[in-house]
Point group: C2
Chain length 267, copies 2
DNA sequence: CGAGGTGTTGAGATTTGTCAACCTACGTGG
DNA sequence: CCACGTAGGTTGACAAATCTCAACACCTCG
């Protein structure tokens, strides 16, 4: 409800940004479509792979990213073990990635929204190492990895940008390790909410009201907590006047309070 | 004590793996030295950046990796906030990397041994994002990042290899998240020991007897546990006949037993 | 030989997990 | 359009894992 009421005018970044806008879905069941895509006119270009590319590099990138793919809520974009061919950039929608061990352990490793890349984990083994699940009907740009490699040999800026994205993913993961390794439940949830709000804000949404696209169980998995603990912590935040919580609708009432929680290691 | 007694003759041995072998330290206080380094004749080449490179690519890589650096036990290779210039490949020795938040939380994000790269986290922000601390006197190859970028534009194999290394770091981090998010103390420690043993074995050391280079506290930080819990868990493993533990000397008596622990999610 | 860093162990506190009951929202099909 | 079924969410009581604090042992190094 946070992102359905935005007037269309705000969706189209100026000249022709088709992105954040819902796009016509291919026929149901169709997994890949070849609608026109253009990084150079995408309103996500300041958040996505193209960051910092020159006009001419951007146009070359357009030739690379030529297909889209739709994934319905609940469906998998890829699954651990699938052959790795492409990276994917989220255009619209929301994903989770999760790894699981043979013995059935499951861990959500991240949530991805518009402008974020999926599939980086597949390069090393040439197979995807996690499942990517759409948490709402979603659209992605398909980035064939071979071609990205080739193009980034030609364009240093693209190469550099790609390396930065991978590096930032590593830094992000280290941040999650810090969270999982050293924070208590309240601190984890506060950090999670602030992170989500900050990323939504970067995409033009409200920094204080958000709709969770994932269940308490998925949040719990990501944060290394049981769903009941997540639920209880939401309730506590509500009681403490930090949040308004109505199921998945969250209003942050006291951002500073949350930040204080995160920043207050054991005294 | 590990690197000061080797006769110079053994240092520059050409076709005669100088690697895993202790190398003469530069004068105390010297941070970078320009001794000859050759990936093409390094015995770590099957574990390090050069994996899979052709003979000719390897020789080009030699021109790139031309300097070494020594770091004494306890010293920092780099510190969070330092400008990012180079990646480092561990030749000898042992490192930990740790991130810390403003409020003083600290998290060990990894332990690196011969053949492993340090500094990947710095590419994204052009500053290092963690501290890299030598846990024993160590030697590294310095890989200037600009030059690596340039060379990998020329040699697709090198580019691909580098991407694989970054990707595998991401996969590794996701594995740590799984560990931190879903395992109990015994499972975490068992997984840690097996991982360490496996990496040591890949380097030609015993798979069953190892010397820990880090304190209980550092292990605890990495595993999201307090040092007392780590200590108790070692004792329990000892009582259960899985390990022999004498301070930092560990003998794995029952590898399968440890593996069973790791692989037995909540029943 | 002594000091300080490191490691071990015990007892009790705290946090989080477990199990169970119940509530709520939402989609489906009558 | 309503009723119902089900998935998701909340809450309570209790159990279990881990942490905290404290005492002490061990080892290394100067």
């Amino acid at each position: 409800m946070n992102d359905t009421v935005i007037p269309p005018s705000e969706l189209e970044g100026c000249p022709g940004g088709q992105p954040l806008q819902p796009l016509k879905r291919a026929a149901p069941g169709t997994r890949a479509s070849a609608l026109k895509v253009a990084c150079s006119s995408c309103s996500l270009r300041e958040l996505c792979l193209p960051v910092g590319l020159s006009r001419s590099d951007l146009e070359r990138l357009d030739t690379l990213v030529s297909t889209r793919r739709s994934v319905a809520r609940g469906d998998l974009l890829f699954r651990a073990g699938d052959a790795f061919q492409s990276l994917y950039a989220v255009r619209t929608g929301f994903f989770k990635t999760c790894v699981s061990s043979e013995d059935g352990r499951d861990q959500v490793t991240g949530f991805q929204m518009a402008g974020e890349l999926l599939g980086l984990d597949g390069i090393g083994s040439e197979r995807h190492n996690c499942n990517a699940v759409a948490l709402e009907d979603s659209q992605l740009c398909v980035i064939p990895y071979d071609q990205l490699e080739a193009l980034s040999r030609e364009f240093g800026e693209l190469q550099r940008q790609f390396h930065k994205i991978m590096s930032r993913e590593i830094v992000r993961d280290h941040g999650v390790m810090l969270l999982l390794g050293s924070m208590r439940a309240e601190e984890r949830l506060a950090a999670f909410l602030l992170n989500l709000a900050q990323r939504l804000q970067a995409r033009g949404f409200s920094a204080s009201s958000l709709v969770l696209r994932m269940t308490r169980e998925e949040i719990g998995s990501y944060l290394g907590l049981k769903l009941e603990t997540v639920s209880r912590t939401f309730s506590k935040f509500h009681d403490d006047g930090l949040l308004e919580v109505k199921q998945r609708d969250i209003h942050i009432l006291d951002q500073e309070g949350l930040q204080r929680l995160v920043n207050s290691a054991r005294c």
